[in-house]
């Protein structure tokens, strides 16, 4: 592990998410073992690894769908937070703390819905989870539930049709339409989401997650099942989210054309432990990654082993 830590890229980068010593056990099976990594603000970080390496488990721990066995997952809001502030929060019973210039959220202590609504971490799913019986537009409006529900005065103002609520609803629709324009689905706004082609459903799920206004967007295999043209469209969309919205991204992906093209930083998992961590160029040439993940010819494998033994 010490070697991997030493290869951390550019330490000057400001982290938005810091995962430390994350361990997840299911009975006797250790799915994730002492995993530590950072997601840098304003970057695309990819989590890769062979099937069963524990990538989705890490995702479920970050987004609160699993309670990790041990470890700390800290999400930062605003400007960089001091280690002292993080430790103070860890020693307190609270789930999050507001500091003068932002806040710290300990995700392992928070419920899944709070992680989305308070810590501003949104996610998508490996098997698409749209509201198939609701229209495309409704899907994007539901994503804005929390502030819209507040604007409806917990339904009281909404029931009497107050102008302030109508205005808020107009804003919500405007945001939804802006996202529909970006993913090219404006024409299908009134169709049920379940009737969309697979690639459109993937993009809609990303747009829906973005409508919650996240600081960090976690995508679980966004390119799965997409054809090359759709994959390249997805790349453009993800880069525009990073550059245009300033949202940091963490993604699990098997499609190397996506990973290598858009990632700023890659973390490689195998059997629940981190085997490499660095820039795409570094990962591409890392013999451990080549040996463990991409598969190698026999002689290359020997080379890699020789490399390892050094």
């Amino acid at each position: 592990m010490a070697q991997a830590d030493a290869q951390m890229p550019d330490t000057a980068l400001e982290p938005i998410l810091r995962v430390e010593h994350l361990t997840m056990r299911f009975g006797g099976l250790v799915a994730v073992n002492e995993l530590s990594f950072e997601v840098a603000r304003g970057q695309i970080t990819a989590l890769i690894g062979p099937n069963g390496a524990g990538k989705t488990t890490v995702f479920n721990c970050i987004t609160g769908f699993y309670k990790p066995t041990s470890g700390r997952i800290a999400m930062f809001a605003g400007t960089p937070q001091t280690d002292a502030a993080i430790d103070a929060l860890t020693n307190s019973p609270n789930t999050h703390a507001h500091t003068a210039n932002g806040g710290v959220y300990l995700l392992e202590r928070m419920a899944d819905s709070e992680i989305s609504s308070k810590a501003k971490v949104a996610r998508t799913f490996q098997n698409i989870r749209l509201f198939t019986g609701m229209t495309v537009l409704e899907n994007l409006i539901v994503a804005q539930h929390n502030w819209l529900n507040l604007a409806s005065g917990y339904s009281v103002l909404g029931l009497v049709g107050a102008p302030s609520f109508r205005k808020a609803e107009r804003q919500a629709i405007d945001l939804a339409v802006a996202w529909l324009d970006r993913i090219g689905l404006t024409d299908r706004a009134d169709d049920p989401a379940g009737a969309l082609p697979y690639g459109d459903q993937r993009r809609l799920e990303i747009a829906r997650a973005m409508c919650t206004g996240p600081e960090l967007l976690c995508l679980d295999e966004p390119a799965a099942g997409l054809n090359p043209r759709e994959s390249s469209e997805l790349n453009k969309l993800l880069m525009s989210i990073r550059d245009g919205n300033g949202t940091s991204l963490l993604l699990i992906e098997h499609d190397m054309s996506v990973v290598m093209e858009i990632s700023d930083h890659i973390v490689v998992l195998e059997y629940g432990t981190k085997i490499s961590d660095g820039t795409p160029d570094f990962i591409k040439n890392d013999p451990k990654v080549i040996a463990a993940y991409l598969g190698v010819e026999d002689e290359e494998f020997d080379d890699a082993e020789a490399e390892l033994e050094k």
Binding site: F131, T132, G133, E138
Partner: protein, 464 residues
């Protein structure tokens, strides 16, 4: 039965029927029916004078049933294809001719509302003052109570997708709180009505907290148990509820303080009208109509608010909801308590209408009837629920009107005895023909360009 021979390459045009195959199929069904009916229908048991068991064979009955099965199957195999083709083409033709009417939905809404408001007067005009009692009370008020209960449960089951088998508990809470508050504390109906709703909503939250972590079948079982617990408490807490004997003497609702009686302070005297019991019925009819329309209005409005969309999203996919930051426990609790509140209102009306309540009115059967109204109507559809309530409650009331059937089946024939049988047959027929209910389309709650109904096959039904 022999194993069927492999189909031979018979050169027949498509219109000719495979008579032999049809005969064989029908014959097999007849044998099957014989096997089934032999132990059930073939012997009637009775005790003779020595208390011994005597078996009276009923071979004519068995023969009738078997031949009905044979000829019905044969007829279906020969003409069924044409029949189903004809009905489906008739359906699509009807749908085509009716489709221009969709543009006039608002007009129909006003026609329906006018009809509902005019209904008691029409009943008096057509059936006369004596005959109208039955039409307003048994048909009008009774059906409207179930429409209101159906709409209330529709919030929980249809929109939020939480299968609730104990809805009648909230109806009971509303009815008993009205009965107790008015008989012990002397509260008037108009004070009891909101309180009944609040109490029912409170019980809804109380039940919801521990239960809403459960999903699907488990939730259904626990709500079923809750319904039974409430009923058993009502029976056994004799000091408070007077047990199985029930509570009587509940004051009737008044018209802004004017009672509906023949006294000088009564409604009739105040307005200079001649006293008739119809006044009270008219009043009760409009009261439950107003309550039902309030339920409908609130539901339609809530559906278009964030909370309503969150309910439907919860029905579609709970995990996705959580990933979007929606607090699923709070969202479920609002659905549960608002549904319960309308059940409580209906219960308050029920208690005040009859002036007497007992635990017998709040058995599981009531929950089942209300739930089947929601399921038959199409989960989430307001119009569908109303149609289903009219068909089911009106239909069972109509059975009482079928006295002439005694001339056909003999004097011992009582059509109302077949209520549950018809109920079950209607359920089976619906599940075969329209498994998603009468109106399965879902209306979008927000529209960008044009409104398109969403087919029922897209919409999920929710699993708790």
């Amino acid at each position: 039965m022999q194993t069927p021979a492999p189909p031979e390459p018979i050169e027949i045009s498509e219109t000719t029927t495979d008579w032999l195959g049809a005969l064989r199929d029908a014959g097999f069904l007849a044998l099957f029916t014989l096997g089934l009916s032999f132990p059930i229908l073939a012997f009637r048991t009775r005790q003779d004078l020595t208390q011994g068991l005597v078996l009276d064979p009923r071979w004519e009955l068995v023969a009738t049933v078997v031949s009905i099965a044979f000829f019905a199957r044969l007829g279906w195999l020969i003409f069924g294809g044409q029949l189903s083709q004809a009905t489906s083409s008739a359906f699509s033709a009807a749908a085509k001719t009716l489709s221009p009417l969709k543009a006039h939905v608002t007009t129909f809404r006003y026609i329906g509302l006018t009809w509902l408001i005019a209904y008691p007067f029409l009943a008096v005009l057509i059936a006369g003052p004596g005959g109208a009692l039955k039409w307003i009370d048994n048909f009008g008020i009774q059906i409207l109570i179930y429409i209101m209960l159906g709409w209330g449960l529709n919030i929980v089951v249809g929109l939020a997708g939480l299968l609730d088998l104990g809805y009648v508990a909230f109806y009971a809470v509303g009815a008993y709180s009205t009965a107790l508050l008015s008989t012990h504390l002397g509260f008037s109906f108009w004070m009891c009505l909101p309180l009944a709703g609040i109490f029912a909503a409170f019980w809804g939250i109380l039940l919801g907290f521990p239960v809403l972590r459960l999903r699907g079948d488990y939730l259904a079982i626990v709500t079923l148990a809750f319904g039974e617990i409430i009923r058993l408490v009502l029976i056994n807490w004799v000091e408070l509820t007077n047990g199985a004997a029930g509570i009587s003497g509940i004051p009737r609702p008044t018209f802004f303080g004017l009672p509906f009686n023949a006294s000088d302070e009564g409604f009739a005297a105040f307005f200079g009208l001649e006293f008739t019991p119809l006044h009270r019925l008219f009043f009760l009819f409009y009261l439950i109509l107003a309550l039902a329309l309030l339920t409908n209005w609130v539901t339609i409005r809530l559906r278009r608010l964030p909370i309503g969309r969150a309910w439907e999203a919860l029905r579609e996919d709970e995990i996705a909801c959580r990933s979007l930051g929606i607090d699923t426990v709070k969202t479920k609790l609002t659905a549960f308590s608002i549904g319960a509140m309308f059940g409580g209102f209906a219960g308050a009306f029920f208690a005040a209408r009859l002036g007497f309540i007992s635990p017998k009115s709040f058995e599981f059967m009531e929950s089942a009837v209300i739930l089947s109204i929601v399921v038959l109507g199409g989960m989430g559809s307001q119009v569908g629920v109303a149609i289903a309530a009219v068909a089911m409650i009106g239909g069972t009331e109509l059975l009482r009107e079928l006295g002439f059937l005694k001339q056909v089946f003999g004097d011992s024939f009582d059509p109302t005895q077949y209520r549950m049988l018809l109920f079950g047959m209607a359920m089976v027929a619906m599940m075969v023909l329209r498994p998603r209910g009468l109106i399965s389309n879902r209306e979008p709650t927000v529209i960008l360009h044009e409104k398109r109904a969403i087919g029922g096959d897209m919409v999920k039904e929710g699993h708790g």
